[in-house]
Symmetry: C2
Subunit: 430 residues, 2 copies
């Protein structure tokens, strides 16, 4: 048998059901991996091994009595440190909240525990889930960024420290680290996983999602939290109808991504998919500026306490962004929201007749250096449009790091996005 920490969530669930693995042993293997690797990867912000092991033993006891809580029974889970936990500190990635211990668990943490999940620890977030980088490194190459803001969650899942982790996205905070670290990232339809007890940034954008090592793992986790029936990945699904979309910011894609993306359609067609180019109206391009205005305007207001009382403790990047965002007027903000509403309708119309849209999950490989968490160009519009997006690693870049695509469906079509993403990954990975 493989080392337990290298098992995916679906494999681990099967092993626990078969009696060949306990939650305690799984948690212990994860903790050992963290002990060995985290001094270099730096994915974890807070750990309480005794607490995690005691939760795991309790899940094992429940199992032995035939009392299974739900689909996540016994699975260790990483929790991004902008998500409140009453049992572990929550510092939102900033010294402003050093040592902060929330009074309650966030709703999504309660939901995970209700389904049997074991909170392994808190994963590193960039400063207030914004763009100032955190200490975490890309486990595939420690000289490269893991992306942000869900840096620790993506690195921990990629490095076999935990099978599942929470991530959040306001700009590209979930999809970009998934792309850079080569894990499956699932940003569900907006407001599918409840945000109570999570540090608010831009309420029209903030979306909670999950990481797993592959699509079935991410699907298992999200389905348990959201309450949908996860698709079966055991039998091959019918080939999806795919629309390729280069986004209004295609010029920012790196040559390696352009090349890989251009070579993709013939491989998908050969496997039976109906592939077409998606032509959205030129008016759609306005989504880029509009979503930036919404993000700026709302984040400035959400982080009023930090801006007004703790500006010197913010990074110049974030402090500057919050101050400069004061230039947007309410009228400009309301106009941006109207543009967004128009773009949502355009996308809905554009997706009629296809199952999913496929677009790059980042501009290329994870950049070298830790100071740059990467571009938001390929993410922000999909956050703003509230559509489900599944990021899957399908290419390898010139430095040997993963690159991937996002598989996007219409709002509420989360299962369709997951099924197609899995199909596409199987085809492209061979």
């Amino acid at each position: 048998m493989k080392d337990p920490n290298t098992l995916g969530a679906v494999e681990a669930v099967r092993a626990m059901a078969a009696g060949t693995l306990t939650s305690e042993r799984l948690v212990l293997a994860c903790l050992e991996r963290i002990h060995a690797r985290d001094p270099e990867v730096l994915a974890w912000a807070h750990l309480d091994p005794a607490l995690a092991l005691s939760e795991a033993r309790e899940r094992d006891r429940e199992r032995s009595e035939g009392r299974l809580r739900g689909a996540l029974h016994g699975l260790p889970i990483g929790v991004k440190d902008i998500i409140d936990t009453a049992t572990l500190p929550t510092e939102y990635g900033t010294p402003i909240y050093r040592g902060h211990r929330p009074v309650a668990d966030a709703a999504c943490v309660v939901a995970a525990r209700e389904q049997g999940g074991v909170v392994l620890g808190k994963t590193v977030s960039t400063e207030l889930a914004n763009r100032h980088p955190a200490i975490t490194r890309n486990p595939h190459n420690l000289a490269h960024t893991p992306g942000g803001s869900s840096s620790g969650s993506a690195a921990a899942v990629a490095d076999h420290m935990v099978p599942l982790a929470f991530a959040t996205q306001t700009g590209g905070s979930l999809v970009r680290p998934a792309a850079y670290c080569g894990v499956a990232g699932f940003k569900p339809t907006y407001n599918s996983i409840n945000g109570a007890g999570i540090k608010l940034l831009a309420p029209s954008l903030d979306t909670v999602g999950v990481y797993g090592r592959d699509v079935p793992d991410a699907s298992l986790f999200a389905a348990a939290l959201i309450g949908f029936v996860p698709p079966s990945f055991d039998r091959p699904a019918a080939p999806p109808r795919i629309a390729l979309y280069r986004t209004p910011q295609w010029s920012l894609a790196e040559p390696s991504m352009v090349e890989a993306f251009e070579a993709m359609p013939s491989r998908l067609s050969a496997a039976g998919a109906a592939v077409q180019e998606l032509a959205l109206p030129p008016a759609m391009d306005a989504i880029i500026d509009a979503s930036n205005i919404v993000n700026d305007y709302e984040t400035r207001r959400s982080l009023a306490y930090e801006r007004v009382y703790h500006l010197p403790q913010l990074s110049p990047t974030l402090g500057g962004k919050l101050v400069q965002a004061g230039r947007w007027t309410r009228d400009q903000y309301l106009e941006a929201l109207r543009t967004v509403a128009d773009c949502r309708r355009m996308l809905e119309d554009g997706l009629r007749g296809v199952d999913v849209l496929v677009t790059p999950s980042a501009e290329g490989e994870a950049p070298r250096g830790l100071e740059n968490v990467g571009k938001t160009a390929f993410h922000q519009m999909w956050t703003m449009l509230h559509v489900p997006s599944v990021a899957v690693p399908v290419f390898t870049g010139p430095s040997g790091l993963p690159m991937g695509v996002q598989v996007i469906a219409a709002r509420g079509q989360d299962v369709r996005a997951l099924q197609a993403a899995h199909w596409i990954q199987q085809v492209l990975r061979g």
Copy 2:
């Protein structure tokens, strides 16, 4: 000069500018009024008189140095106790959070202080801003409910304990207490006042708003927080084009409300308004069930921590609601959201050609007894539709208690709603 605590916000601002009033004297007068009346009205959850006075003196010092913070400079403000304050306890109306002291101020509290406001204290909320009643009484008649959930804020403003207060609405929590206590309540367009640091209930519905003693006062407060130019109320505005709307639940209106509402159009027409009946498509009636499903579904998830870990400390009303809400599936929820989107478009179409819609702000007067916070029938749909609503007291009911109407405009037309509400109140109050 009147007792300072009886001054409205606009009057108090003028008196402070003229040098005939200080913030300290105003705060002191409010504290004296609270001392005299609150043992009976029970509007306040937490007070720290020394802290409020010291904030007021600091505002006075700033004024003497020519440093005015903003439009609220020196004005005392009541903060509903589901809104976080780091300087005062925040108990969310439930013993679960007894003595809780948040780590940061909510964004709206920071915004009020940035504009010069003085936090006078925390006002009583019903349990977790839901329907289980609080201890607060209606200041017009202590045997009657003030409505909920913003019970303390409405009662305190009505009883001259504070000129301005924060309220929130998920069902009818802002408009109903405004109606029952006879204050001006302003629920702005959804997401106009940032919700960071406020206890989340149903994120698709939760809306932060304000109370003042009349429309110009509420307008002053909201404009400072939201950043729009408040309309001038000094000169009479042009008569608005008004559409009367009885809502799909008109049968729940009490005879006194029906009579007052039926007599209203001729008085508005006589004053120069163009008045018509609003006929919305019958499909609009689906908004009632749809918004109930959205509220149930989302609140169950937001209050997961309280439901899972503290069920015995919840009232049977709220505990039962949270448990029963588990019956709604994700598909039913997504279907309800689609219905809501359709209804928003129907309302937008229906409002073309008129400035505002006028509808009752409650079924009638505040019911006798404290156990019943009143019906949500006349509020929930407007919260769900995200439109601005201004509640103004314009009638007197059979028990001598205030009754009122809501003046509603299209999304983003907050100024129009405020102007028309003031015009309508002036006409009907004669």
